[in-house]
């Protein structure tokens, strides 16, 4: 019988295929081998913990349309092989007019398994877990197995990573593992891998062009002249093309909306001239606000200022500079997603310098134990004492598992809205409607929506600087456009306006994808 099978032509395997298969099997088994099994166990814990955090945030109506709902709409569009539109940003708003992050299309297949925004939380937990391996592998030859493990554990539960998870989802989640692997590849002189990963990094966000230029500078110091020049030009060229052509092409105002450096000048050229001609003034801008000083301290003190001695800190420079020189106070903050991509850079740079110090001063070899120990101690203390930037505190104290009457009312009202209709909703309710309605924020779909929800327990209807309303003004606005209150519970008002033909809405505001799934909703 075995001979019969072997005789079939389609069952014949070549030596090359066998070797390829063996390599794949070996790669798949490696994380479970004696070398990495503890790290793999850590990643399993990371996925479980961070998926739970995301899921609980969703269930407790703490996640928001900005940005979870936006990414959910975009990934759902990708999963249906459609252009990345987000109704939260505006009807027929192509997300490439906002930021350039084609890499998130790679998440589309996840929605074929489960069509739900919570899938993005799971994906982000997986991406964070993937970044643990390079941090451990970078630290192990320098510090040894257990100190390296402690460093990896401290890194993955450090506040910048927790801040990202607490922000629901963001494209920068891809940058965290990519940059971690790039540093490992640079360290191990795997330049082909550096090149490939750098190219992929450019698909994470437009400003990753600057990070790739920083990678080129590191390679320059390694005297990899050609590769350094190539990556530098690639990073610069990509940034210029994406912000000068691609984003303006899709943007409704025909421009790139995130150049907000009034202190430096109206264009990148003007900014460079300012920085070169006024280096001290530029330096002063980096520290001219309490929030900026807190950020510097929060990033560098827990790692003992060690990263400042490593060449790898160059990779953090463009991200930090672009934020601290910006006019947007939100980007100076320890909150949100902004700091996550700095975490692997600073931790790996700190390990790099710690190793060099130990090598130079052999008496300090014991620092390989107390150094990582101190770092983890700050993380544990932070989780216990500083819930504002260590959101795992809520998980540890059990607060994340509690629910309130208001959450019950939010869920009840969300359930009252039928599928396949067009809705304007409070920002906190938006992610609960994205997978079955065309939903945007209050006041964004005036001509089309039939349903609206306004939560008077919130300060505003959401949407940040893009224009939002106080709940009262939002209600007046909707009532001025013919909406009538049909239900009210716990200060949440559900409004409805009968569908009117001739409103100009395509198929009752349903995108073709939703219409095919849920009908017109009329």
């Amino acid at each position: 019988m075995a001979l019969d099978i072997a005789a079939q032509p389609d069952r014949v395997t070549t030596g090359a295929e066998t070797r390829q298969r063996q390599r794949l099997v070996s790669a798949v088994r490696k994380p479970f081998g004696p070398e990495l099994r503890w790290v793999t166990a850590l990643t399993v814990v990371v996925v479980a913990v961070y998926s739970t955090v995301s899921s609980l945030r969703f269930n407790r109506f703490e996640s928001a349309g900005y940005d979870l709902g936006i990414f959910d709409q975009v990934v759902r569009q990708y999963s249906a092989f459609m252009a990345p539109y987000s109704e939260i940003k505006g009807l027929e708003y192509n997300i490439f007019g906002d930021h350039f992050h084609p890499i998130i299309a790679s998440l589309a297949s996840l929605y074929w398994i489960w069509n739900d925004p919570r899938m993005l939380g799971i994906a982000m937990a997986l991406l964070m877990a993937v970044s643990v391996y390079p941090v451990y592998l970078f630290a192990r030859p320098r510090l040894g197995h257990w100190p390296a493990f402690v460093v990896a554990a401290g890194y993955i539960f450090w506040w910048p990573i927790q801040g990202l998870v607490d922000f629901d989802f963001h494209e920068i989640a891809f940058g965290v593992p990519l940059l971690s692997w790039i540093i490992l590849a640079v360290d191990r002189r795997r330049y082909a891998a550096v090149t490939v990963l750098s190219v992929i990094l450019l698909g994470v966000r437009e400003d990753m062009g600057f990070v790739v230029m920083a990678i080129a500078l590191v390679l320059l110091l390694r005297r990899r002249w050609k590769l350094a020049l190539g990556l530098f030009l690639l990073g610069l060229g990509t940034y210029l093309v994406v912000t000068g052509k691609v984003i303006p092409h899709y943007n409704v105002s025909g421009s790139f909306g995130y150049w907000v450096y009034s202190g430096l000048g109206p264009t990148m050229g003007a900014a460079i001239i300012f920085i070169v001609s006024h280096p001290l003034k530029t330096l002063a801008i980096l520290f001219d606000h309490d929030a900026k000083q807190v950020l510097w301290a929060s990033l560098f003190l827990p790692v003992g200022l060690l990263p400042l001695g490593s060449v790898y800190v160059l990779l953090a420079a463009p991200i930090l500079l672009s934020r601290l020189l910006s006019d947007r106070p939100g980007t100076w903050s320890t909150g949100f997603q902004y700091n996550a991509i700095l975490a692997p850079v600073l931790v790996m740079a700190a390990v790099d310098v710690l190793f060099k110090v130990m090598k130079r001063f052999p008496r300090l070899r014991c620092a390989r134990f107390w150094g990582p120990g101190l770092f983890v101690a700050t993380v544990v203390a932070g989780i216990a004492l500083v819930p504002s930037i260590f959101p795992l505190n809520k998980l540890v104290t059990g607060e994340a598992f509690t629910s309130t009457a208001h959450m019950g009312a939010q869920q009840r009202i969300v359930n009252m809205i039928p599928s396949g209709v067009c809705v304007e909703a409070d920002d906190r309710l938006v992610p609960h409607l994205t997978n079955r309605t065309v939903v945007g924020l209050v006041g964004r779909q005036v001509d089309y929506a039939s349903w609206a929800v306004i939560d008077f327990d919130q300060d505003n209807t959401g949407g940040g600087g893009d224009g939002n309303y106080t709940p009262f003004n939002g209600l007046r606005y909707k009532q001025d456009h013919g909406f009538q209150e049909v239900y009210r519970q716990d200060n949440i008002v559900l409004l409805y306006r009968p569908y009117q033909s001739g409103q100009g809405a395509p198929a009752h505001c349903s995108s073709p994808y939703l219409a095919s799934l849920y009908g017109s909703g009329k």
Partner: protein, 240 residues
Amino acid sequence: MIPILSPAVPRHQILRIAAATSLLAATLSGCANEALAPLDVSRVESKTPADSISYAAGVYGGWWDKAPLPGQPANLVLYSTKTGRVVQTVGSPDPLSAKNMESLKSPKWAENLIIVMDPSANSVVDAFAIDANGNPANRSTRAVKTGGYDGWWNSTPADGHTAGLPVETVQVNTDTSQVVDAYNRTTKITRVSYTVVPDPAWPKHSIVIIDTSTGKVIANFKINADGSPMGSGGRGDVAR
């Protein structure tokens, strides 16, 4: 060839992966706790905003009579631009200050309005047109004949902050390329010198709002044949 698709991979292994994926999908879908209970709105009829305002024995009834929601102003005056007097009060409003009167007597307002103001915040929280007998009027068809359209571009938010709002706008009918209205936030003047350069990209049967400082269209909306905005009851688009 991708190893997993290789003929060397046993079929039962592929089936096992498929089964695991299906189990994962079923488990995750089970996490969704939404038991939909759509509200029956079949008896809800279309109403104009004016329908929600009543008028009897010289008293206007509206949202201000309902139990106030958090953040809803409770002490209001209803001011008639026709008579130039307060016609009704709600709660215990502060006496009108000079600043309040400046807002109420602005040339922005038409002469047939009831303006609902929160004097303590000096904010106009509502306004509706009335007919000659004082009854709330559904005046959507009069908007274009007598003036233009109100919106965020030419009004002041309730919190009084106008940062980021355009200083001067013109409203252009895209079918006629005529300026139907304009407003300068600084001078409060509605006569603005502006040369229309029609753009083929403008939507038909619409009004485009142009920020004169940039020449760019900052808002647009479709209008009916009579000039009333589509999908709007009209009260929000009170004529000036």
